[in-house]
Symmetry: C2
DNA sequence: GAATTAAACAGACAGCCTGTCTGCTTTGAT
DNA sequence: ATCAAAGCAGACAGGCTGTCTGTTTAATTC
């Protein structure tokens, strides 16, 4: 006799977990709800009791992955001193996390399409993008980062650049090159302090 | 009594055109083939005679838009002298073109999902991305652009950065800011020649 | 230039998939 | 103990894509 909040958390968790793995492998469109139900060990009725539709379940998966990304970044940043090295460490942690096959497919490739522009931006804003912008603001404020445009603009540029990096290097044999290219980009903003 | 090649071009053109508009407004998943058939004025049999499935029709639309993008860029570049100003002009033309609502939704947002990673990369490689990389290679070769990583890596970074720019500024009130942020980014690569 | 082949097209049809809907079970409140 | 509400079960309907057979129109062959 479990409490209601426990039951709720249990089935929601199973659904999100099963969906997460299937979405990662087959993609959103090619994942049948039937497969999710089997994977989660629940019935159709349960699923549609917790989520309005498949897209809402997908959003819940995105939410979870975004939280995990945040956690990974914050952990990587924890030991750093100085705004620039903090920014660099956070960015490297970001690309490392996004390089994971499952995360990449769900968060980078499919989320913009499935969630739509508005919800996707909102999600980003709620998590890693805000982190990135704040890091940039700090680094620009104390002069260790130089950019003639706005901090927000630079955050957009960097975010997009990193996304493109992980996508192009997907499954590549040189995971090291990705980090090199990214750090080379940072060097461009640091003026004459190598 | 039209020739076969004419008939073929006609119906294919009508389908691609109708699909293009519908995909732009409603997105790929929410566009019913029925609607495309009505828009194009052809029947189901005709469509599936020319395209294996909906995705293949979508790919044809992407192909067309990519060609238009190439044309726009090459026109913008035509009057330019010097590798750097050529690169800048081409990049601005690129973001201008991609800022169009329809192009954005189809090429930037949905194409990676619908075509899949491999086909999407191949498409990019066939068109604008190659143009960008060559522009960067030239500018790096004559020293007007400095970057400690590879030309290919920089092309990836710039491409991703520009994509992110147009997405974030979608429907924004300040279309000028987009260009400013992009040019600010270029300034970072130009060392001490302002 | 009649006959044959192949391409282009028409439209009915089947199978699949999502979301709904009604009913049942378990938990929580009174 | 009783009633309300949340959680869940599973059948079902409607819609959509792709197929398949048949028909028309162009090209080829003799």
């Amino acid at each position: 006799m479990a409490t209601n909040v426990q039951r709720r958390a249990q089935t929601r968790g199973c659904l999100i977990n099963a969906a997460r793995h299937l979405f990662a492998i087959q993609g959103y469109a090619d994942t049948r709800t039937e497969a999710i139900l089997n994977g989660a060990g629940v019935t159709r009725g349960a699923m549609y009791h917790h989520f309005r539709n498949k897209a809402e379940l997908f959003e819940a998966v995105c939410e979870l992955l975004s939280q995990e990304a945040m956690a990974a970044i914050e952990q990587a940043v924890a030991g750093q001193h100085g705004s620039l090295s903090t920014l660099k460490a956070g960015s490297l942690a970001w690309v490392d996390f996004m390089s994971r096959q499952d995360v990449q497919r769900i968060l980078v490739i499919e989320a913009p399409t499935v969630l739509g522009q508005a919800r996707w931006n909102a999600l980003d804003e709620r998590y890693s993008f805000t982190l990135l912008r704040e890091g940039i603001q700090e680094a620009m404020a104390d002069g260790s980062l130089q950019f003639s445009g706005s901090a927000n603009g630079l955050a957009i540029l960097l975010n997009g650049a990193m996304n493109a990096l992980v996508l192009r290097h997907a499954g590549a044999a040189n995971p090291q090159r990705l980090r090199q290219d990214l750090l080379a980009l940072f060097d461009c903003f640091c003026g004459e302090t190598p």
